[in-house]
């Protein structure tokens, strides 16, 4: 089965400004793939190039077996797209815009639109101008899903969605993926990517850093635990743990700071031998951990 999305040395420069450089990536059919990076990393640039809104400086993108430049119209027929900065003709009602976009696809999507709108609790009869940002985003999601595309390309899809709608959206993603359809979504929030994707790539300053398996990542994220004891303790038991990266004890010997990769359980078990007064867990810079581990940085792994 050909991968639904392949990037080969994909490069986009805006004049002398780097958008992205030499991206190589294969997304597998049926997976939910995360594209993670801070603002300005090049996520939207990649997506715009894949959809032929902008043209690569060099390299290529192949979508569902078709070249992004030569077959863009055919590709658009099979792909659902949600813009990162969603702008719409706000003089139309939600229903009018969705009907129009469906007509341009040559399909009658009224059933699908109605069912998605009720799932997201979206009133289609109001003018887009009058929608809250959350409702606008819902219109964007409906138009991305309404033609049941083979590949969904979603640029920061949870922007502006309230938590309940987010849950519904995650559920929808899993249904899509269960049907063997593929989702490619960008995000700048690691916890979100961790939660909903199967695999993820990290992009920074236009370059792809790593592609990671999320299950594996969950085993390897770093946490910093600060444990305060009732009496001074002996740290050697903690130091002998494979998963403890750094072990520090305060001068008075009461407060232990451990950086742990993966499960915290072994640390807690050892700590339980003593009288524990408090435990504070800091989700370390997860992204740093992510990068460190997957780039094979020896300090961290």
């Amino acid at each position: 089965m050909t991968p639904p999305l392949i990037l080969e040395n994909l490069t986009k420069y805006y004049g002398s400004v780097r958008g992205v450089e030499d991206l190589n990536l294969e997304v597998r059919q049926g997976e939910i793939f995360g594209f993670l990076g801070p603002n300005g990393a090049g996520k939207s640039t990649t997506i715009s190039t894949v959809l032929d809104f902008i043209r690569p400086t060099r390299g290529s993108a192949t979508i569902l077996g078709m070249d992004s430049r030569n077959k863009s119209v055919e590709i658009h027929r099979l792909v659902g797209y949600l813009p990162g900065e969603l702008a719409m003709n706000d003089r139309m009602t939600g229903g009018e815009l969705l009907g129009y976009l469906a007509a341009l696809r040559g399909i009658d999507a009224s059933k699908e639109i109605a069912s998605l709108a009720s799932r997201f609790d979206l009133d289609l009869s109001r003018r887009i101008r009058a929608y809250s940002s959350g409702n606008r985003q819902k219109v964007g999601l409906v138009q991305a899903f309404m033609h049941r595309p083979q590949l969904l390309i979603l640029d920061e899809p949870t922007n502006g969605l309230d938590p309940i709608v987010q849950q519904e959206f995650y559920a929808l993603l899993h249904e899509v993926s269960a049907e063997g359809r593929t989702v490619f979504l960008s995000s700048h929030v690691l916890p979100e990517v961790e939660r909903i994707t199967d695999r993820a790539a990290i992009i920074r300053q236009g370059r792809l850093m790593v592609v990671a398996d999320i299950e594996q990542l969950k085993k390897t994220t770093q946490r910093r635990l600060e444990i305060t004891f009732a009496d001074p303790i002996d740290v050697s038991a903690f130091e002998s743990l494979d998963t403890a990266q750094t072990v520090q004890i305060s001068d008075d010997g009461y407060t232990l700071t451990v950086t742990v990769t993966g499960a915290v359980d072994p640390v807690i078990k050892i700590a339980a031998r003593y009288d524990v007064e408090s435990i504070v867990s800091h989700e370390g810079d997860l992204e740093e951990a992510f990068l460190a581990f997957y780039s094979g940085d020896t300090d961290a792994a």
Partner: protein
């Protein structure tokens, strides 16, 4: 209506089309309504016009006083040679600008292009919609002119009125297509509006001032206003040569718009 880019463009312009039609109806209606006064008091107006510098009169579409006071000359001076043509050109420019540059300026082009609609098709359907809208407004002007002129016995031939309003529509479409072409090339709304409106104003004055300033006479032949009223179509009917020139300019502009829009990056985010 919201079944195609063409239909959507017409639909979104429905109220502005109405307002432009009302405006031009008032302009043409009033012009025709005052004509009997001028006809009945021709001596006074002849004196008045003869006291004017001839260059100024050329802005009225003719430097011949008797011609200017004739039904066809008078109507031509008020509609084709002045505000009427400018108003219709502004309408066409606003549509031509919105077609590509406006859509990009609002950052809505990506949503449109994400549907299986080829870029050239967006340009062509928007052009077709602009043409339809301009022709509808020109048709309204034609109807007002036909009814009004018969009420006040201006004795204009229907064929000439059709020719005149058709050429008026072509002039507007020359500027509208220019806006489409600049929008296609640049995707920038402000640049497009400035260039197309600038071209309209500049060519209007070059055409008018050419009677006064000999050195402008070469340039004058390049102005769409000259193509419209070198011959007064209300008097002489359709000028085949000028019609062909305008059609060619429109076709070339359309070609540039398609080519320009297909080759470049669009504005997203």
């Amino acid at each position: 209506m919201l079944r195609s880019v063409f239909g959507e463009t017409l639909w979104m312009r429905r109220s502005s089309m109405l307002w432009y039609s009302i405006g031009l109806t008032i302009l043409v209606g009033l012009t025709i309504a005052v004509y009997p006064t001028i006809r009945d008091d021709a001596d006074t107006f002849t004196q008045l016009l003869e006291s004017m510098p001839s260059g100024m009169m050329s802005f009225f579409g003719s430097s011949e006083v008797t011609e200017l006071l004739s039904p066809s000359g008078f109507l031509n001076s008020r509609v084709n040679a002045s505000i009427g043509s400018i108003v219709l050109a502004v309408f066409a420019i606003s549509i031509g600008t919105a077609a590509i540059a406006g859509e990009e300026d609002r950052r809505t082009m990506d949503l449109l292009l994400a549907t299986p609609t080829p870029r050239h098709r967006i340009v062509l359907e928007r052009f077709a919609a602009m043409t339809t809208l301009v022709l509808v407004v020109a048709f309204v002007v034609l109807v007002v002119m036909t009814i009004g002129s018969s009420v006040v016995d201006m004795e204009l031939s229907i064929a000439n009125m059709i020719a005149s309003n058709f050429m008026l529509a072509l002039l507007a479409l020359v500027f509208g297509s220019l806006a489409l072409a600049i929008g296609g090339l640049t995707g920038r709304r402000s640049v497009t509006v400035a260039a197309a409106a600038g071209a309209t104003v500049a060519t209007y004055f070059i055409n008018g001032l050419a009677e006064l300033v000999d050195s402008l006479q070469g340039l004058q032949k390049l102005t769409p206003f000259y193509w419209l009223q070198r011959a007064n179509p209300l008097r002489d009917g359709l000028s085949i040569e000028d019609t062909i020139i305008m059609l060619l300019v429109i076709a070339v502009s359309l070609g540039i718009a398609v080519w320009g829009f297909q080759r470049r990056d669009i504005a997203v985010n």
